[in-house]
């Protein structure tokens, strides 16, 4: 596969699908090593000194882009931020030409976010051997670094995956995060993975990914140790997938009442940005079992781990 080199090591990170447990564990361990023990602080290193990381964001993003930037700077890389939704592509330049230009500018790592599923894969097909591509979200397909930081957070707070029942709640249909999370949880051997939401937001045939589908929040949360919330985009009500008004919150919102259905002290994670009162109650979002802000910090370490690993693995090739 495109994301592996001849030694079966990762040279791009395009999707979680197809990774082995060792690939994931290696990244999680490496991320852990970037923390200064007992402080929660992230180290400054020279892993990417002299290299340039280009953030190619064809879709708006705040936290993913800024944590990639911070991660690159923590590794002492130069960072080039391109807000492409407002620049060359609006002048008609093709994705391929944009990439070739950046390559000519001697960027070694491309972080790509695009609204089309498969965009990062397309870029990876068209770059030189010494360039590493990191998918920062492509359409509804994958968001591997988000899933990895979620796995890191779960491992840190709850330990072994084979003991955990995990439920993902919300708009699975449009979620690249959910697809990557499901892949990662399966690879790491989570006891059970569930998805909860109305049938309009659950993709058909999702059972083939090995998950259990629930349309009732309280039923779905029974026996669950980790609750993974997804953001509900309000345009889902405009496009006729949900009734307007508070129906979604009433039926699928995580509140202090519905949270009771899960196992005691179930961990709550959320990729952000959170919509208080839309998918999650304020009290719950701010409760001690919600580790939403810790996820953001972990995201920096995970992205450092991915960037340093990929540049190591592309090095020997040229």
């Amino acid at each position: 596969m495109l994301q592996f080199n001849k030694q079966k090591r990762l040279k791009h990170l395009l999707t979680i699908d197809g990774l082995k447990k060792d690939h994931i564990t290696e990244i999680l361990n490496r991320a852990e090593d970037f923390f200064i023990p007992h402080t929660g602080e992230i180290k400054q290193t020279n892993d990417l000194h002299g290299k340039t990381v280009a953030n190619l964001f064809f879709e708006p993003s705040t936290r993913t882009r800024s944590t990639f930037e911070l991660a690159a700077k923590k590794l002492s890389a130069n960072v080039l931020n391109l807000d492409i939704s407002h620049s060359s592509t609006s002048k008609g330049e093709s994705l391929r030409d944009t990439v070739r230009n950046l390559q000519a500018m001697q960027c070694q790592v491309f972080v790509v976010r695009h609204s089309a599923s498969g965009a990062a894969h397309f870029v990876a097909e068209h770059v030189n051997e010494d360039v590493a591509i990191i998918n920062a979200g492509d359409g509804c397909h994958a968001h591997p670094t988000q899933a990895l930081l979620d796995m890191f957070t779960i491992r840190k707070h709850r330990g072994e995956f084979h003991k955990l029942n995990v439920a993902i709640i919300g708009d699975i249909l449009h979620s690249r995060v959910a697809r990557s999370q499901i892949n990662a949880l399966q690879i790491l051997g989570a006891a059970q993975v569930r998805v909860i939401g109305p049938q309009t937001l659950i993709p058909k045939h999702i059972e083939q990914m090995g998950v259990k589908v629930f349309h009732d929040l309280r039923q779905g949360l029974q026996g669950v140790d980790v609750i993974m919330m997804l953001r509900l985009q309000l345009e889902r009500m405009q496009s006729g997938l949900l009734p307007k008004g508070n129906a979604y919150y009433r039926l699928f919102g995580l509140t202090s009442e519905s949270y009771q259905a899960a196992n005691p002290d179930a961990l709550i994670i959320h990729p952000g940005p959170i919509n208080r009162g839309v998918e999650i109650d304020s009290d719950i979002a701010d409760s001690p079992n919600a580790v939403i802000l810790d996820q953001v910090t972990n995201g920096i370490a995970i992205r450092m781990a991915v960037m340093s690993l990929l540049t190591e693995n592309t090095k020997g090739l040229t």
């Binding site: 309009t200 349309h215 006729g240 949900l242 009734p243």
Partner: protein, 207 residues
């Protein structure tokens, strides 16, 4: 009050019963079917020879013309139904106001307890075919099923969203099996009678 209905053909599909027999009713509840014990004293006896004795019937689509000058009020409709043995009326959502909010459904139900009024909730807000109505809150308000009445949902993707959403909560959806466009202006089956009377016909292909 004790009533005995004698010699009727008693039909109860739910209990797979169809035979000529007797029924004893005590204070509005059926007490015995078949052999009536000797101690049961009837205050009224009805001879139902050559007649059928049936459970209360359900009219699954009763559309009272509440705002038509010659139309029946829901109460009139309910009383007329009761006189013909119909004890439950299902009211489709295209009444006035449209049954797309729980308040409208609750208000409709308050009109009568006998026969029971069962609202059929609107599948889409204002029956516009553009946004799913809040089906679960309508169900809580007493809607027994959901339908867009005779207004088509032109966007079939939207129709699929409606089916999917309703299926999530085990809700029943009733679809009028008629293409409104093909049936437009038609008032009778497209055939010789419509031809003779000069009526626009509704073609078979519209169903």
């Amino acid at each position: 009050m004790n009533i005995v209905i004698k010699n009727g053909r008693v039909i109860d599909v739910a209990n797979k019963l169809d035979k000529t027999t007797d029924i004893a009713i005590e204070n509005g509840k059926i007490k015995h079917i078949g052999d009536i014990p000797a101690h049961f004293v009837a205050t009224q006896t009805i001879d139902a020879r050559d007649r059928w004795v049936l459970p209360g019937l359900i009219d699954i689509c009763n559309r009272p013309q509440m705002h038509h000058p010659q139309g029946a009020s829901l109460i009139n409709e309910a009383n007329a139904a009761l006189k013909r043995g119909i004890t439950t009326l299902c009211i489709p959502p295209d009444c006035d106001p449209i049954l797309d909010t729980s308040a409208n459904a609750i208000r409709l139900k308050q009109n009568s307890t006998l026969p029971a009024i069962h609202p059929i909730g609107a599948l889409t807000t204002a029956l516009s075919g553009e946004a799913i109505a809040d089906l679960t809150s309508l169900k809580e308000a007493g809607c027994v099923a959901f339908s867009n009445a005779q207004r088509p949902i032109a966007d079939t993707k939207m129709l699929r969203h409606c089916y999917d959403y309703a299926a999530s909560f085990n809700l029943t959806v009733i679809v009028a099996p008629q293409c409104a466009m093909l049936a437009k202006v038609g008032i009778a089956h497209e055939g010789f009678v419509a031809l003779r009377l000069g009526w626009h016909g509704i073609p078979v292909s519209s169903e």
